[in-house]
Symmetry: C2
Subunit: 161 residues, 2 copies
DNA sequence: GCTAGATAGTCTGTTCTACAGATCATATTA
DNA sequence: TAATATGATCTGTAGAACAGACTATCTAGC
């Protein structure tokens, strides 16, 4: 506790928010380079990843889970659709909603991008041992899961989809 | 490794980038609320924290270490200065540069803000045990330290200050 | 020692990103 | 049944970030 008091009054090491911000900037810089061909960059990748997963792949739920504004989401999906990576499909359970569905081309692009992103991740975590890196990932996912919404299927108001 | 292949092709859990983004959004949302009185919000807090630490507290070095654009930094320091929290002081070692120095009022404000930020941090990490939370913090700082620049004294071109 | 090139900070102008609000169709709630 | 809320789209705008120009100063190389 004395150590906590010390870090509070003097910047001996960087704080949580700074570390988080720095890691994310580093990751995003590298991810942008790695998947520069993908519309929307890292964000496009994430949308495609979520769309490829559970059945909860409506625009709004994806947008909420990724912290993307609804208008931004419209244009992002426009771009992905134009590139032939996704299509929009009416949600049978809700006539207002559109599902984001990967095309075959999109699935391939996602697989390729995933490998490159995995490499970025390994680079960012490069100074940790494998054990520590796995541990860090697990802790990260646990911390994220305790936050507002992460999993698109957890978005409030979404039935099982 | 088979497990890796599986997560690559199907979104069974969120990926690293998503988790990072989600945690940071959660943290920043809470931090903004917690220190809404502080000019610049979480960013102002971070600038003051860095300025309060090592002797490497020139605008440019702080900005680089926090990933803040130099123009943005000018106006941010303007706001902090207007609020009486910091002053600018010419750097004796480099006549071009200005150091950001906390005022007495600023030091008090930083201490108060630090407590509130610590509470935000505890909240964000609330689902981890104390042991896991400490471990996470350590790993976080280690991962951040391996990235481009974090510590203002590590900014290229900066002598000991 | 000198000079060319780079840099710190400031300022202006511009670009980019995110968002608010309006709208229509649809779903939900009371 | 009617009022209210919501998904997606579109337009317009606000705010944030950034580029470039500038002055003063520093650094590197000859």
């Amino acid at each position: 506790m004395t150590e906590t008091a010390e870090t509070t009054t003097e910047q001996d090491s960087i704080d949580f928010g700074q570390a988080l911000g720095s890691i994310l900037r580093n990751y995003l810089d590298k991810a942008r380079d790695a998947i520069s061909d993908l519309p929307g960059g890292p964000r496009g990748f994430q949308v495609m990843s979520v769309a490829n997963g559970d059945d909860c792949s409506n625009q709004a739920t994806i947008a909420t889970s990724l912290g993307i504004d609804r208008t931004v989401m419209t244009y992002l999906v426009d771009d992905l659709e134009k590139a032939g990576l996704v299509t929009r499909r009416p949600d049978p359970a809700d006539r207002r909603a559109r599902q984001v569905v990967l095309t075959a081309k999109g699935a391939k692009a996602l697989a390729a991008a995933s490998e490159r992103i995995a490499q970025v991740e390994r680079t960012v975590l490069g100074n940790l041992s494998d054990t520590d890196a796995d541990l860090f990932r697990q802790l990260l996912v646990r911390v994220a899961a305790a936050g507002p919404v992460v999993d698109a299927c957890d978005v409030p108001g979404v039935a099982e989809c």
